[in-house]
């Protein structure tokens, strides 16, 4: 019988072995094999771990392995509930298993664990409608990001009201950290709403859509945008002054005023700045 080897192993080697057994393969024994193939000394769990009643050390290690996958899968299910519903439980679990292997957590917490999932979905060669699923994941990830972003109170537009009409065209809007503008090739927000309503889910046909995700303190909003709204807001996000952003926008002044009123109320903008080009570039931030 082999003697215990724990004392011969530095702690780092033991921890590296155990983490690989837990995380690298479909079974504990295969995990040990993975260790062998990557330069670790050969070691069976039986040589390192005490027997425990009727269960072998391998069976006990499997508890950690199951817990690892279950914990991270649960995290992804919490962050991507509509995606899970759209894919179905089994497909989602398979996706998670592959994602967890490709993007193991390196952070003290799991807040950002799912951030690579939208791109990961695009890399799945056998997944039909991968673009749609990726966009759905983008929307759900935007909700997570906005939940954790700092939301400032809506900006005051009083100063703007006092600005003369000509200067007003030079203002620039800064989009807040708790706001995301997303444009999709599929009607993703409509699908997500159907999920929230417990309605029947049907994979949609392609259609260009845009949505703003924004949080006002305790409430998350998803605001569908008309094409003209999306164009205007996109230009503002990119830093265009109002004058340039409004170029070719087909809407009445009243409509545009109503849009800005709503966007401001929802806290999409965190600051407004006015660059007075007639006065040596003096900048005022409201």
């Amino acid at each position: 019988m082999s003697r215990p080897v724990t004392l011969d192993w530095p702690l780092e080697k033991l921890q590296t072995w155990m983490l690989r057994v837990m995380t690298d393969s479909d079974s504990n024994r295969a995990g040990v094999a993975t260790g062998q193939s990557t330069g670790l000394d050969s070691a069976e769990p039986e040589r390192l771990l005490r027997p425990a009643g009727v269960e072998s050390p391998v069976e006990r290690l499997a508890i950690y392995r199951r817990g690892y996958l279950a914990r991270l899968t649960e995290c992804l299910a919490d962050d991507f509930p509509a995606l899970m519903s759209a894919l179905g439980d089994q497909e989602f679990k398979t996706l998670c298993r592959n994602y967890i292997a490709a993007h193991p957590s390196t952070s003290p917490n799991l807040n950002a664990f799912g951030r690579f999932l939208p791109d990961f979905l695009l890399q799945q060669p056998d997944l039909a409608m991968a673009q749609f699923y990726s966009e759905l994941a983008q929307l759900e990830w935007a909700l997570v990001e906005v939940l954790h972003a700092q939301a400032l109170p809506p900006i005051s537009t009083l100063a703007l009201a006092a600005t003369d009409a000509e200067s007003l065209l030079d203002v620039r809007f800064e989009v807040g950290k708790a706001a995301r503008l997303l444009t999709f090739r599929y009607p993703v927000n409509e699908f997500f709403q159907a999920y929230c309503d417990n309605a029947a889910l049907e994979l949609p046909a392609p259609m260009i859509t845009s949505v703003v995700v924004v949080r006002t303190q305790y409430t998350l909003w998803r605001l569908d945008l008309l094409p003209a709204q999306a164009t205007l807001l996109s230009r503002l996000v990119q830093g265009s002054a109002l004058n340039a952003a409004l170029d070719d926008i087909r809407a009445t002044p009243q409509e545009i005023q109503a849009w800005f009123s709503e966007w401001t109320r929802l806290g999409i903008f965190s600051a407004i700045s006015l660059t007075n080009t007639c006065n040596d570039g003096h900048q005022t931030t409201y």
Binding site: R60, S105, A149
Partner: protein, 284 residues
């Protein structure tokens, strides 16, 4: 009455998101809340908004799951900085984490993994606990984990290791009596013997929770209600640590707040049965 220089907070509850609104609307008579520290790190958003409001009304204790004090990776000072910042923000009464490691080579398993209890491991942890306490400028409480494997090379029992670590590193102990029950079942030792050999001078807090029998082993799921043998272990331990705080953990299949309050009342009965009321820090 203070233990390890820290106040007796009474019986508290683990703060969980599903109860935020209830707590803020109903102000239930809970003496304190324990948060999972990492749930409020790497965020500037909604979780912190709720926590700030609850911390205005209740004492908060921070309980971490990613310090990884037993890892051979270097201590993560960015993590410690965030921990310290959060402690100051919520005026946490103390901080705790686990006698475990959670990852190595930068990879985090988000599990509380067991250590071999040897002299070398002890030396490694004493250095790290001292470094953490020096950085945090506060004592750290370490909790005994639930474990499913034991290392053949261990030369100490867990209770010997934990007590010796607390003494050499001058840190406190968070004694989870449910974890004692779970590990004792899984490894075939007597939980009462474990509890009889703890250095209670350093025990500041107890955890009690539910668990799940899986046939040949028990998993520490924190699904309640708490079973009577675990309450019995709390009675035994609390009898040796009057004035320690007690916390109810319930982390999966979380029930209504009313049901949780029944567990709080049960814990209060245990505490009151074991000792006369001890002075507690006033609740805001």
């Amino acid at each position: 009455m203070k233990r390890f220089g820290l106040p007796n907070l009474g019986v508290g509850l683990g703060l969980r998101t599903v109860h935020y609104n209830y707590i803020l609307e109903q102000s239930p008579p809970v003496e304190w809340f324990e948060i999972i520290s990492e749930n409020y790190m790497h965020t500037a958003g909604k979780p912190l908004l709720f926590l700030d409001r609850i911390a205005e009304r209740y004492p908060i204790v921070m309980h971490g799951v990613s310090l990884s004090i037993g890892s051979t990776d270097p201590l993560d000072y960015d993590y410690l900085h965030e921990l310290k910042t959060l402690r100051e923000r919520v005026k946490a009464r103390w901080l705790s984490d686990h006698l475990c490691w959670t990852g190595v080579a930068g990879k985090n398993s988000h599990d509380l993994l067991p250590l071999p209890y040897t002299e070398d491991t002890l030396l490694h942890l004493v250095k790290r606990v001292r470094a953490v306490q020096e950085y945090l400028e506060a004592p750290l409480m370490l909790e005994n984990p639930s474990t499913y494997v034991e290392f053949l090379g261990s030369t100490m029992t867990e209770w010997e290791f934990l007590s010796e670590l607390a003494r050499q590193a001058d840190c406190g102990i968070l004694l989870d009596v449910n974890n004692v029950y779970v590990s004792a079942h899984n490894h075939g030792y007597d939980p009462k013997h474990y509890l009889a050999n703890i250095d209670y001078n350093r025990v500041v807090q107890f955890h009690v929770a539910g668990h799940t029998h899986e046939g040949a082993h028990i998993v520490d799921t924190h699904i309640g209600p708490i079973i009577e043998p675990v309450w019995d272990l709390l009675r035994q331990a609390y009898g040796c640590a009057a004035g320690a705080a007690v916390l109810i953990e319930w982390d999966a299949e979380i029930p209504t707040f009313d049901l949780l309050m029944r567990e709080v009342e049960h814990a209060r009965d245990v505490v009151n049965d074991m000792h006369e009321q001890v002075p507690r820090e006033a609740v805001a």
